[in-house]
């Protein structure tokens, strides 16, 4: 799979000249401080604070609109609630669940053993299997507190950010490139930063729905959510309502909903909140000025200069404009009696906590010709998008809290309390209505702090029970324990890579490589007008408008230096090595990480760092990573290419043949056959072998010698037990 191409993700960005360079490193070094969660938290807090003060562009947007804070709040990512408070919430949930189970005459599953629990916890919270060292450390911890302690520790680790990022990327459709060639990197950056900061969920939603301004202003990446669906504001609205309110309105785009109460008119009243949305933050008049400039340059200065200016204008103008005029036009084939085709409707929301806006209807020119009928509505902004965002993400909204608690519950139990919570209907009832209500109360009382909420879920007895296996059990499922399930594509990948690369979570980065160049480019251009743009471009050179070219050049240089470094290693020439290191550092690279990526494989990083989404033929896609075109379209279905890849691909190429992988190093280190077998089991399945398994593999070792260890590793990695979570 390593095709020898340079992967841009290998390269950390040049440090932002105006920000502390320690920022990125602060984050990624936490994994190294194993055992010292507290120190990690302090670091997290530090980096978040330091990042908040550094950016004028972000501050500017925060100032101009206090309702849309784009600066980073001081990190709340350490647990804020006391352990007792969390325990009492968990106890309440257990009480409700258990009494309900009793009423249904169902027996809750027994408590799961610590070994299985630890693997489950790692997969659920940090998205990969625990390393042998982590298992040993857990086992050394005192029995009565270790589960709670590790829950807190993992929830605040970089691994959790990576894993949560994968989950939300599927929901929010993260892409490195959005439609129309706008970069999605600021959007990616926004999501990661929000997770690092543990930004309250309702605030995240408000930022996404109400985003406006330049896409490339630092801190304003939430604009990606709307830019993602450029030209499709109706689809974007339908997706928002599905994702955040669990309600399917898309049917009503073309006709009254056949089974639900939604009318086509209501769909357009909802769409009216985004009336006047523009996919550029510049006013049409400004944009025209730049377009004229482009044409002038093309005529006067030729194609190359034109391209440069066009790129600059593109960088400068990408964004979201129009804060909402509260108006929408009904389609031309509207066929119900309550309005005429092409009538204007005003913004009005569905549900009982509905809001209604009353914009002044613009005077419309009389329609003389047919082709006038699609004129966009021209009316002043009344900030209807902000109103929409506040309505969606409100504690009063009957479905907002219900959806997020079901999401969270599903993540940890494998099934939501209310089935199909993204398609709620009038009659949708939770399996345990009282439990759902209690979860909603806790969510509100935690002010949508998802870390605190997850602490509660993970601490319940319900979560810490043996897994329930749907089909082989005769009784119905009502959360007697979490469900057995296949690992997601990302969990599988991250778990496999954990067996190759030490301290894998070091590869998690908050700021995607290359994004800083976009921010800097925007910033250098932003004060300009069409008149000053040319001067700015002349002054700063082409790098400003072509960050990718800049990155490619850095890559080439780094590769050349690395060759020298490698020669130094082969000849054991410390001086050559030292010199190469200094040169790499001068390029702005994180030298240790760069060298590590060369040692273990440039592509062996956490799934969250591979690219959004991973390329089509990547392991991740084959195992079901979403293509990010539709929300939540990842899957865990089996197919033949997956089997072939595990049979003959990754396992063979990256693990069995690797000499320096974590697994092969530790297998070598274990001396006696028994110890080697145990090492393989604990590394791969996070448990020791049973007596029977030991006996069988020892027999193989006696018969086939060292080859048997290869068989063992291959077998365990291809086993059901590896790809399923219990």
């Amino acid at each position: 799979m390593d095709d020898g191409r340079l992967d841009p993700t290998d390269f950390p960005p040049r440090p932002n000249p105006r920000g502390p360079a320690s920022r990125r490193r602060g984050f990624t070094s936490i994994a190294l401080l194993s055992g010292s969660a507290l120190l990690g938290l302090v670091l997290l807090a530090h980096l978040a604070t330091s990042s908040s003060a550094q950016d004028s562009a972000a501050e500017k947007y925060a100032d101009s609109d206090p309702a849309k804070p784009t600066t980073v709040e001081p990190a709340p990512s350490q647990p804020r609630r006391s352990s007792e408070e969390i325990e009492s919430a968990a106890a309440e949930l257990d009480r409700i669940l258990e009494s309900r189970l009793e009423g249904l005459e169902l027996e809750p599953n027994p408590n799961v053993d610590d070994t299985t629990f630890l693997r489950r916890l790692f997969l659920d919270v940090v998205g990969r299997i625990p390393t042998a060292a982590e298992q040993a450390e857990f086992n050394r911890d005192s029995k009565d507190v270790r589960r709670s302690r590790w829950i807190d520790r993992l929830l605040t680790s970089p691994g959790h950010v990576s894993h949560a990022f994968n989950y939300w990327s599927d929901v929010l459709r993260m892409k490195n490139r959005l439609n129309n060639q706008v970069s999605g990197l600021p959007y990616v950056h926004w999501l990661k930063q929000s997770l690092v900061d543990n930004k309250p969920y309702d605030q995240q939603v408000k930022e996404l729905l109400g985003a406006s301004g330049p896409a490339y202003a630092r801190g304003n990446g939430a604009t990606g959510y709307l830019l993602r669906d450029r030209g499709m504001p109706l689809d974007n609205m339908a997706t928002s309502v599905r994702v955040f309110l669990g309600t399917r309105l898309e049917c009503a785009q073309c006709h009254n909903h056949p089974t639900e109460p939604w009318k086509q008119r209501q769909f357009f009243e909802m769409a009216a909140f985004a009336g006047g949305l523009r996919y550029s933050h510049l006013e049409p008049r400004e944009l025209r000025g730049y377009r004229q400039l482009q044409q002038r340059v093309r005529k006067d200065d030729g194609q190359q200069a034109f391209r440069q200016v066009r790129r600059a204008v593109f960088t400068l103008s990408a964004g979201i404009g129009g804060d909402g005029n509260g108006l929408a036009r009904l389609p031309s084939d509207y066929e119900y009696d309550d309005a005429k085709p092409r009538d204007l409707v005003t913004a009005k929301s569905i549900f009982s906590n509905g809001i209604e806006l009353h914009p002044k209807l613009p005077r419309e020119p009389r329609r003389k010709r047919k082709n006038r009928r699609n004129r966009p509505v021209n009316a002043p902004s009344i900030d209807s998008r902000t109103a929409f965002a506040s309505w969606v993400a409100s504690t009063d909204n009957p479905r907002f809290t219900r959806v997020i608690v079901n999401r969270m519950w599903e993540r940890y139990f494998g099934q939501s309390l209310t089935p199909k919570f993204d398609d709620l209907k009038g009659e949708s009832v939770a399996i345990h209505p009282e439990l759902e209500a209690s979860l909603e109360r806790w969510m509100r009382s935690f002010d949508y702090d998802l870390i605190e909420f997850q602490r509660v879920l993970l601490r319940t007895r319900a979560y810490q029970r043996k897994a329930f296996c749907l089909e082989s059990s005769k009784s119905r499922y009502a959360f007697q324990g979490p469900l057995l399930r296949r690992l997601t594509a990302e969990q599988l990948w991250d778990s496999l890579v954990t067996l190759v690369v030490p301290d894998l979570d070091d590869t998690v980065r908050v700021e995607p490589p290359g994004v800083a160049a976009l921010y800097n480019g925007y910033e250098a251009l932003e004060s300009g007008s069409p008149d000053t743009l040319l001067a700015t471009l002349q002054e700063s050179g082409p790098a400003l408008t072509d960050p990718r070219a800049q990155m490619r050049q850095t890559q080439r240089q780094a590769q050349a230096i690395f060759r020298r470094y490698h020669r130094g290693v082969r000849r054991r020439d410390a001086e050559v090595q030292q010199k190469a290191r200094a040169e790499l550092e001068a390029l702005g690279l994180d030298v240790d990480r760069f060298l590590k990526s060369r040692r273990y494989g440039r592509d062996l990083v956490r799934a969250s760092e591979v690219g959004q989404p991973a390329p089509a033929a990547h392991f991740l896609r084959e195992f079901g990573q979403s293509d990010r075109d539709q929300t939540e379209s990842s899957h865990q279905d089996a197919n033949v290419p997956q089997a072939l890849r595990l049979l003959n691909g990754f396992v063979d190429q990256r693990l069995l043949r690797s000499k320096n992988s974590v697994l092969s190093t530790n297998l070598k280190r274990a001396k006696r056959p028994q110890a080697k077998i145990r090492t393989a089991f604990t590394h791969i399945l996070s448990r020791p072998p049973s007596q029977e398994e030991s006996r069988l593999w020892l027999a193989d070792v006696r018969q086939y010698g060292n080859a048997a260890y290869q068989d063992l590793v291959w077998t365990l990695l291809n086993s059901h037990e590896f790809r399923f979570q219990r």
């Binding site: 439609n179 129309n180 450029r230 030209g231 499709m232 689809d235 898309e250 049917c251 785009q253 073309c254 006709h255 031309s332 084939d333 047919k370 082709n371 009928r373 699609n374 966009p376 089935p419 199909k420 296996c469 089909e471 082989s472 057995l484 399930r485 296949r486 089509a616 033929a617 896609r621 293509d627 075109d629 539709q630 379209s633 899957h635 279905d637 089996a638 197919n639 033949v640 290419p641 089997a643 072939l644 890849r645 049979l647 003959n648 691909g649 063979d652 190429q653 043949r657 193989d700 086939y704 068989d711 291959w714 077998t715 365990l716 291809n718 086993s719 059901h720 037990e721 399923f724 219990r726």
Partner: protein
């Protein structure tokens, strides 16, 4: 484990037994006249080309059975009917797209189909398609399964129905393959996992990892498979679930494939350069070529996906870019199938989830989703070419003649394959389903 034995090369007997069983299934359920022909074809592994399928006797009363295979070209995103096969020259709605004449009098297509215009005698254009789903996910789902998406069940797509109702001809290759469709367009739905499609991401790479690593001798590989089987059996005993069993199934299939003498079907590098060139070097073109190779090796249902039809923005620029691959590759496919005598038994479908609005959104020069009227194509497999079926109004807004619902299109495909439209199959939860949800086959389309 059978696979270990298979792998060691003693598979002949097993394979033959399996083949004859499969052949029986196929024969028992489908047209009797092909008994000798197709049976021999499967066993001898050289497809019989000039079988007159559906000549007369038909095992399923009332089913046509004119086609043995389907190549389904799925235009993902919603192909604009106004800019492809249902032009409205002289209207405001048409925009800059122009019509050209074809090798069939009276049939005109978009200027972007210069090659295809010379194959219209093989093609039946349906200009009266209708769907009631105007969102991608739902539209795509309906097109593939004939059912609306529900929270409680997942429906099988046509290839899975075919596999379930008629079995595979080639026991070592999957019954159906989906190329470039990483959105999960085709699926086994509630049917057993063995009916699921084999997905191929990049057709020019073929089936990756299908060879045993050189460094691992066959006996070692067999030993590993044996240990794996034992370990998995223990797990399955405790956790007997469909998704666990699905992995047993795909591992079985994978090992059978590795050992298959037909594995070369996936290797389009074996095609002459000129052929690869003719199909187009892009992924869609190579996918069409791979589809033909697979059909030749008795894979009966192949879907190839061409995306990018969601032309909300700059419709005309995008259409200009999207049409040429379809034009070139479909033309090459039809010509190639015809030359090989395969077109008669292979139904080629061009399907899409909906059309696009006649109205041009001026501010972005685009067209939005339009399920009320759109176009699909059928060719080969018993279809009477050179016809246009159904009609829309003056602007392409609504169907005014011979409406064909998505379910009807699927019923037509199923009918051509000889699938029983009225046979009820029950889901594991006991709910009844039929192959095209009571859609009606459009018999007028057939020769």
């Amino acid at each position: 484990m059978d696979d270990a034995r298979l792998y060691l090369g003693s598979d002949d007997v097993t394979r033959r037994a399996f083949l004859s069983r499969t052949a029986q299934t196929w024969l028992g359920l489908s047209a009797v006249p092909i008994l000798g022909a197709s049976g021999a074809s499967a066993l001898g592994n050289t497809s019989l080309r000039n079988t007159s399928l559906g000549d007369d006797a038909v095992a399923i009363p009332g089913s046509l059975a004119t086609a043995r295979n389907v190549i389904y070209l799925y235009m993902s995103g919603g192909m604009s009917h106004l800019d492809t096969f249902d032009l409205k020259p002289g209207t405001d709605e048409q925009g800059p797209t122009e019509a050209i004449s074809t090798n069939v009098d009276g049939i005109r297509v978009s200027q972007h189909f210069p090659f295809l215009s010379q194959h219209m005698d093989k093609i039946a254009v349906i200009n009266s398609m209708f769907s009631h789903q105007g969102a991608h996910l739902q539209g795509r789902y309906l097109l593939h399964t004939s059912y609306e998406q529900r929270g409680t069940i997942e429906h099988p797509s046509m290839g899975a129905w075919l596999s379930r109702l008629q079995g595979n001809i080639n026991p070592t290759l999957p019954g159906h393959v989906s190329i470039g469709g990483n959105n999960g367009t085709a699926s086994a739905g509630f049917l057993e996992p063995k009916h699921a499609p084999l997905p191929i991401g990049d057709p020019s790479k073929g089936l990756a990892h299908s060879a045993r690593p050189d460094a691992v001798p066959a006996d070692v590989y067999a030993r590993r498979l044996d240990r794996l089987q034992k370990m998995n059996a223990a797990f399955r005993k405790k956790h007997d679930r469909k998704d666990v069993r699905a992995y047993d199934e795909v591992y079985d299939q994978a090992v059978r494939l590795m050992n298959s003498s037909d594995l070369k079907a996936f290797d389009i590098a074996q095609e002459p350069d000129a052929v690869r060139e003719a199909y187009g070097r892009d992924s869609f073109g190579q996918g069409c070529l791979l589809a033909r190779r697979l059909i030749e090796h008795d894979v009966r249902f192949v879907e190839v996906v061409l995306g990018g039809w969601d032309t909300h923005n700059e419709n005309f620029e995008n259409i200009e870019e999207r049409c040429p691959p379809l034009d070139r590759s479909l033309s090459a496919l039809l010509a190639d199938l015809d030359a090989r005598g395969l077109l008669e038994e292979t139904l080629v479908v061009v399907g899409t989830e909906f059309g696009r609005t006649p109205e041009i959104r001026r501010e972005r020069n685009g067209r939005d989703h339009h399920p009320q009227a759109f176009s699909c194509l059928l060719a080969g497999g018993g279809i009477k070419g050179g016809q246009v079926y159904g009609k829309t109004d003056a602007t392409g807004q609504n169907v005014i003649e011979k409406q064909v619902k998505v379910q009807d299109l699927n019923a037509t495909i199923a009918d051509a394959l000889g699938l029983p439209l009225s046979e009820t199959i029950y889901s594991p939860s006991g709910r009844p389903f039929t192959v095209a949800d009571k859609g009606r086959s459009v018999r007028e389309l057939f020769a």
